[in-house]
């Protein structure tokens, strides 16, 4: 079976889930089954069918699992958003369409993604500009300043800044990695690179801390810094950078902890939300109650207890930050673990793309994109389950939010483009023969899957 047909096959569960899921929820509400209950499923079928066709035409040899995982996550997401607020689900559907358009644009427009390297400083500045824009014009929502308004539409620049910065660092590290691994001095038996090479990284460290100060958002700051650290580690193969980076971040964070009461509050709530279960700890406590209500198998789709008498959700921001709590309540541990595993599989596929890539920029780019995606998922999943302090960021593809959906579709498209190249395809245009199998193309591709050792390792990931 070709990878493209595999993808079509794996898309089926997502289609079924949306169709049956919406049908169940509708029937629950209307207490009657109507043919229109199947409409969202049909629409979803159409949308992801089109995405599949686009991918098939533009990047036929790319990873066949990433798009079905996205479909599953976003179908479950829109379903749960519908449960929280049907009006938002309609908006989310629009965002999914916008995201799909962005997906196709990136897929087609960045087939030659290597060219991004040439614009790395422009891209980096763009990322910084987006963040500065947020710092200056941002509005505070739930204590974090992440939103700016563009006309009637709320916009979260950090969601896009993360892509810009990943591209920039992948390109930058690709350029300087040789220098960074050169050791001129040894200290306590550890090889130290020249200090001047740390300069740019310390600048970025400063940026992360600035984010924490001005955006009041630990999550975004942690996300950027963690991703950067992962990239540096992969680029230099020096664990030393991880140690130094973690130390720097920890030191900076602890200083900020002393200075800023909102950071202390967040950490205090995480340590013991029961101190103030109706005040600061309310969200996380109610989130835990929701997970507990779900138990092993959940209450069933549409059966969760999500709203107060007033019609607002029990957990504020249910449709964004706390969407996973609703999933945990309605689908139980079984459903929640399935979601976690979907993200892990996404990370595995993404890193596999990195491993199979032939040049360092592609590797670093795939690694960075995957790391930022996986880390974002972990930060919010860990936050709502009280594994780590809660930070307000979205769950990729599942949470409500246009910026999040569109940026993550761009991320996916970029990852698929890199994947296509890694698999030996060169991102042929729509004119190429679609029938050619991935295997044959790989064999004939330049550099052809390179060393067998690399491939062997890749399979083990």
């Amino acid at each position: 079976m070709t990878s493209r047909s595999k993808e079509l096959l794996f898309l089926l569960p997502a289609m079924l889930l949306t169709t049956i899921g919406f049908a169940i929820v509708f029937v629950r509400q209307a207490e009657a089954f109507e043919l229109s209950s199947l409409a969202p499923g049909a629409a979803f079928l159409g949308l992801f069918g089109l995405l599949h066709v686009a991918r098939r035409l533009v990047v036929p040899a790319a990873d066949p699992y990433l798009l079905p995982i996205t479909a599953l996550l976003s179908s479950l997401g829109i379903l749960m958003i519908y449960r929280a607020d049907p009006r938002l689900a309609a908006q989310q559907a629009v965002w999914l369409v916008v995201g799909s358009v962005a997906f196709v644009i990136v897929l087609v427009g960045l087939r030659r993604f290597e060219r991004l390297r040439e614009y790395k400083y422009l891209i980096g500045l763009g990322g910084i500009a987006l963040l500065v824009l947020t710092m200056v014009a941002g509005r505070e929502v739930y204590g974090a300043r992440l939103w700016i308004r563009v006309g009637p539409v709320g916009f979260q620049p950090p969601e896009f800044a993360k892509l810009f910065l990943v591209v920039f660092f992948a390109a930058y590290l690709d350029q300087v990695r040789e220098m960074l691994t050169v050791s001129t001095r040894r200290f306590l038996g550890v090889a130290l690179p020249p200090l001047r090479h740390l300069g740019p990284l310390i600048t970025v460290w400063g940026l992360s801390l600035a984010l924490m100060i001005f955006l009041k958002d630990l999550g975004t700051s942690l996300l950027f810094f963690g991703t950067l650290l992962a990239l540096i580690y992969v680029a230099t193969a020096r664990f030393f950078y991880v140690v130094v980076g973690t130390g720097l971040f920890a030191a900076g964070a602890s200083v900020l902890y002393q200075i800023f009461p909102h950071v202390q509050l967040r950490v205090g709530i995480w340590l013991d939300p029961w101190q103030d279960p109706l005040g600061g700890g309310y969200q996380i406590v109610q989130s835990l109650f929701a997970f507990a209500a779900g138990g092993l198998f959940g209450r069933g789709l549409g059966e969760g207890y999500l709203h107060l008498a007033s019609g607002s959700t029990i957990i504020p921001a249910l449709e964004t930050d706390f969407i996973f709590s609703a999933i945990g309540e309605e689908l139980g541990l079984v459903g929640a673990v399935a979601i976690v595993l979907l993200y892990l599989v996404f990370v595995q596929r993404g890193l596999r793309v990195a491993l199979r890539s032939h040049d360092d920029f592609a590797r670093l780019l795939a690694t960075g994109l995957t790391a930022v995606f996986g880390l974002q998922a972990f930060l919010i999943l860990g936050g709502v389950t009280k594994l780590i302090p809660l930070t307000g960021i979205t769950l990729p593809f599942v949470s409500y939010g246009g910026s999040s959906i569109v940026s993550n579709f761009c991320l996916l498209a970029l990852l698929l483009v890199v994947s296509e190249r890694a698999a030996g395809g060169d991102g042929r245009g729509s004119g190429g023969p679609a029938g050619a199998g991935a295997g044959t193309r790989v064999g004939s591709g330049a550099g052809a899957r390179a060393g067998l050792t690399v491939d062997g390792r890749a399979e083990s990931v």
């Binding site: 992969v234 193969a237 109650f289 139980g332 595995q348 890193l351 390792r457």
Partner: protein
């Protein structure tokens, strides 16, 4: 670079496995605790969306209903404290008690029969609501009992001896379910224990009302007849224990019927000792003392000491209801009902019918015989003796003109306080439709304090 990417994957694997572990902890391991956590209002709020069934008296007075606020139904008790001791409360904060608890599945619409119905409701688009309870309680008799008892600590039970249907039951002091949430702190600290239903949970020495059991046993066993003669000298020595009469009275020559009329302790001690510990214990048990009522509301079992532990002195003491005998007011009502009903004790019940909202009867009470400790003839003899008590004995305060009332007074001595006042009786004596048991804690004499209360209740029941 490959090695680092692989390590990065394992780093992510560890992160996500930690997530799965945390999820398992929250959703399975800690879930029971979280679900019942004091701050978790999910279960309660969910419940508040179902219209809880109403509770009405047999004469159609609403005792528990709902008022609607938004999408929620809040429990409402239009009659306040009238029936609070056993109707109980359904509080969002403090849970449930009494019938609200015993019949919660019906009231919340969650019994198996109602779950099927709720599914049908779902399909047909009707709103689901809990089942209603129709009680045996008659609001007029209930009100008479509450008014007659007044502020005195004690309890009144009135029931139909032919069926066991409870017509009135009250306990004092009691609580107002409408303000329970606000009063809670003071209610649980109040030493007069207003949350305890004295009628079914209160344990008291029965005093002379227990003589009914001894008389029934003596007559049934043939140890005495109503005409058997006794000599009273004011006191009698039994196994080293000196039995004496109330207020040191001396009755001289009298028959057994007169002994009940005048409540002669020495005579009943003699009959009790003649019967022996085993027989006495058997009759006490047959009349229901020592077993909790069979209804869902529960209640104390009371106790008659084990025969093996009873020497002559204790048998003599138990024969006039002192020593280690303990009963609830409901139990004394049932003993009396057994005599009134020709020797057969019927199981008490409060809920006549459970109906769904379309008034279809889901469950109907079926009067059940518990036991027949004595024959109809013996019951008739005891009844005739009890008529004398009210006509010219210690219980004249219970007499009602134009109706023959049978009764027995009790003045149970308690350490460190005034005696508990008892009265049990029924009317009309020849064809009883109502039995009443009255207890007033530290009320003094049964004839003086309890009998007038019983009279008011009997009258209210007869005048219905």
């Amino acid at each position: 670079m490959e090695r680092q990417i692989q390590k990065l994957f394992w780093f992510f694997a560890v992160l996500f496995l930690a997530l799965i572990a945390q999820l398992s902890y929250v959703q399975v391991w800690a879930a029971p605790e979280l679900r019942t956590h004091a701050n978790n209002t999910r279960a309660v709020e969910r419940e508040m969306r179902v219209e809880r069934g109403s509770v009405v008296s047999s004469d159609g007075v609403l005792l528990a209903g709902n008022r609607k606020e938004g999408v929620y139904f809040l429990r409402d008790y239009p009659e306040g404290a009238l029936v609070s001791p056993w109707l109980g409360y359904s509080s969002l904060r403090y849970g449930r008690s009494g019938l609200e608890r015993a019949y919660n599945l019906e009231l919340a619409g969650e019994t198996d029969a109602l779950v099927v119905r709720s599914y049908i409701d779902l399909l047909t688009g009707r709103p689901h609501r809990g089942a209603d309870l129709v009680l045996t309680i008659d609001s007029r008799v209930q009100r008479a009992a509450v008014d007659a008892l007044g502020g005195a600590a004690g309890a009144v039970v009135a029931l139909d001896p032919r069926t066991g249907a409870v017509l009135a039951m009250t306990s004092s002091p009691r609580f107002d379910p409408r303000t329970l949430d606000d009063d809670w702190a003071s209610l649980i600290e109040d030493e007069s224990r207003p949350l305890v239903d004295r009628a079914v949970q209160g344990l008291y020495p029965p005093g002379s009302v227990f003589k009914l059991v001894v008389a029934a046993a003596g007559l049934e066993e043939g140890v005495v007849t109503p005409g058997t003669m006794f000599e009273d000298e004011g006191s009698w020595l039994a196994g080293g224990y000196r039995v004496s009469n109330n207020d040191g009275k001396v009755f001289g020559q009298h028959d057994f019927a007169e002994a009940l009329t005048r409540s002669v302790n020495t005579t009943f001690a003699k009959v009790g000792v003649d019967l022996g510990a085993d027989t006495l214990a058997r009759y006490a048990a047959d009349f229901g003392i020592g077993s909790a009522p069979s209804w869902r509301l529960g209640g104390a079992s009371g106790s008659f000491p084990a025969p093996a532990g009873l020497d002559t002195a204790h048998v003599a003491q138990a024969s006039f209801g002192q020593g280690e005998v303990l009963v609830t007011p409901l139990q004394m009502a049932l003993v009396t009902a057994g005599i009134a009903n020709g020797g057969t004790v019927m199981a008490p019940y409060l809920v006549a019918e459970v109906r769904d909202y379309s008034q279809t009867v889901l469950e109907k009470a079926d009067p059940t015989r518990v036991n027949s400790p004595i024959s109809e003839a013996t019951a008739g003899e005891v009844r005739d003796m009890m008529v004398q008590v009210v006509e010219r004995g210690t219980g004249t305060a219970a007499a009602i003109s134009g109706v023959e009332v049978a009764g027995k007074t009790g003045t149970a001595q308690v350490e460190g306080g005034a005696s508990h006042a008892w009265f049990v009786g029924f009317a009309p004596a020849d064809d009883p439709v109502i039995v009443v048991a009255v207890l007033v804690e530290h009320g003094g004499s049964g004839g003086g304090t309890a009998a007038p209360i019983a009279r008011a209740v009997l009258r209210a029941a007869l005048e219905r």
